[in-house]
Symmetry: D2
Subunit: 263 residues, 4 copies
């Protein structure tokens, strides 16, 4: 059945006089290769959304073309070619704007603090590109250990602590390594965490974290101080969610700063 | 142990010179009673976030006070008293701004279209209040049946169809009933859906939906036309996500309109 | 359209010679009223699955009848009438066996250990009934605070701790209160946890939990010792998952004991 | 700090007289390389659980050794070496039994049925190994299109259809390819599905699926017939969950057959 005989319903005119802000495909699971500072390239699996705008005079977009564009980037997706994907989407879909979200677990080989034993830690990262603004957003979710300063201060011994997830999104004037952003955040809690720790490492982390108690408020401020001072960062949002060990809910804090408005 | 002897670490001064936009508690599961147009009141269970701002000169907020404020509203939470919760949070936490998110399943008893058999359908609703703007946002997620117009047009018989989730958020000048918003959205797909259908209902819905095929683009435009014409609505966002039956990913569309800027 | 004119495809004969173990409806969200030891009744929202067997000579079951059975139990669902639901399902679906899963958040008002301040804690409970065995299973998920004994022992000060989720399933010879099972589990960690704690409570919990460190192995053994000694319990499974604060993964342990086989 | 000076709390004796069935690590996110029938090897990301038993006379296991064992398998994990992992776990943890779950998205390049356009489809797979039984279990989740036979029969035109997820677990006497199991399942619905379809493909799938309507009951029976006839398969479970487009809940069916007991 030749395709030209099949009516193109999507290209029919529309009389509701309403342009659509975003239309496209959502939650495509797709294997990707991303840039890795240590190893050059890293294989992982992404969850991808791709959207364009649709002018008021067309009834629908052509969904298969989004996947066709995605198929061109099997060699690798990174902060370096998010802009290319956005341009391809605009061209193939005859659109004025385009948007892409690429979320994936990213792995960094870390050495335990005392034993030096190596293991891979996973961090959830998202590359987000939007053609209507001239930059991309890089988000990383970094798990940390947080020891409660109040609990330490008021108790004769011990202090409640828990896993906290710091979500940092940044827009930058130049390419930032994922690793650079993760390392910056990992200095801002009571201790960083690892996939593999021997007893001597556990002793070190327990004592080190007890000496450095932080509230969720402290974590977001510590990260914000570093991002304010970072020359490449134009805008950032930092959130912390602590899965409180004494409660069944989380403690939360957020700071958002647009440095371009402060200058 | 008298409380006055325990040091208030949270009230210590902070020298990082950084106010915090939002700080508070997240993901509290809590039983709530909400207004129900048909029955007066409805019991359900909510997922609640509550935040305030924190000035730059304090180190931390007092997390337990958020739960104390929440405990005052066991008689009922609705669009009518979101503002009271926001005021209580500001007062108890000495804050300038406050924010609350209350997400819950809401049930409506619906009669099947032919048999008239009654059943309860669940809709995920969110009440969001923000003291820094003088209104609340009501969000409802409405599942619909969508039949693909392209598939119907090009095929000799049949047409692929699927469950689509329409998420509508509105800010309004006056109180809107949850039911009112749901009914408005349920007219915008190929067919509304039900928890209980007999054979005669299934025949009706199959034929009715086949006669009314819609793309995700059509659904968001149909909803937008109605919300543009609705006298109480000041701002809205409408998104549709169709869990495509011929793909393993979703089709998506969104329209956002601020009517106060159009006037 | 009279229903008798619509062909009953489900009742057609089937020649594949294969009975079906379970067929029915899954993931129905439904408001329920459950028995509450303190207040008589409690409103909550359940996620429900209902299944029956299907003999080899029928092509399909009648899905709408499951929801019709469920609609009869709007006055309340509890360990007391799970058997009635199972019998109704067998009767309405002409089945030999029936199965039901009812999962819901359950709330208990708890007093903080020093201040006595009251708050509601949520616990995920599941009632599971299976007509092919003559009992139901009650599952509760109880969050606890666990302090690591190794970390405490090897460190000069502090000890890593975290939220642990204990999942206990029991089959009993007589009705067990949900509250009874939760209280039994809450004695088995380093400390129970609460939705609302003042500073004096936080001091108490920090010190008390530091004095009672437990591994995941200790928690499951502590619970197992109590359930082995409980006269009503015939069978149990106890699992603990600790969301380790020093790792990005969980520690896990499980013990399953069928006391009827030990006797 | 030399490790020998740090007390081994885990190796302390325990007097509760209770062996533990499973103890270990849960929900480790880890990059893996798996066997691929078409390309030799495939990179993906797994969610991994690893457990051993613990005799009654030890207080705890040594959690870091699980991750050390995992780190030996960075070159590849497959049905071929699940047994090696199980043996390593038993040896390193001095255990009698060991258990591993490895869940990952797996990608297969498929050609669209008419246009021949290629795209990658994702399938969730789990390799499960248990040393206490002499085999592993392979599970695949296969999304299909299902057209309702009742809806088609009773309606003048159209038929409701939806995405159905078939979960098949098998234990086999010899190695089975993931691809082999997926292909077997994909013949059992109204149509298989794809990540990329052009209009001529959509026409084909719409008509082909309308000509082949199936209930959830039909799907599990169709799969069961094929697995009963498959010479390598010793045991299987097949479940289907259809995300009904006319309801907000799923239809479900399951068949479990142990062929070793039938012989």
């Amino acid at each position: 059945m030749p395709r030209r005989n099949l009516k193109d319903i999507q290209s029919q005119p529309d009389d509701r006089n309403l342009p659509i802000d975003k239309v496209g495909v959502k939650d495509i699971t797709y294997p990707v290769v991303v840039l890795d500072r240590a190893d050059g390239l890293q294989h992982t699996v992404a969850r991808i959304n791709m959207y364009v705008d649709l002018p008021e005079h067309f009834r629908g977009t052509h969904m298969s073309r989004f996947v066709e564009v995605l198929n061109r980037y099997q060699g690798g997706i990174s902060t370096k070619n998010v802009r290319d994907i956005l341009e391809d989407l605009k061209k193939e879909l005859n659109a004025k704007t385009s948007h892409v979200d690429i979320e994936f677990p990213y792995f960094i080989t870390k050495a335990a603090p005392v034993s030096g034993q190596k293991s891979k830690m996973d961090y959830i990262c998202t590359l987000q590109g939007d053609s209507s603004v001239d930059y991309y957003t890089l988000q990383v979710k970094v798990p940390l250990l947080s020891v409660c300063p109040c609990s330490k201060e008021i108790s004769r011994y011990g202090a409640h602590n828990q896993r906290s997830i710091v979500s940092v999104s940044v827009r930058a004037s130049e390419i930032l390594w994922i690793e650079e952003l993760i390392e910056l955040v990992e200095e801002c809690g009571s201790s960083q965490i690892y996939a593999l720790l021997k007893r001597e490492d556990e002793k070190y982390i327990t004592e080190h974290s007890y000496e450095n108690p932080v509230f969720v408020e402290d974590i977001v401020r510590n990260v914000a101080v570093k991002l304010l001072a970072h020359p490449k960062v134009l805008w950032f949002s930092v959130e912390t969610e602590s899965m409180e060990s004494i409660h069944n809910h989380s403690a939360y804090a957020q700071i958002v700063i647009d440095k371009t408005k402060k200058l």
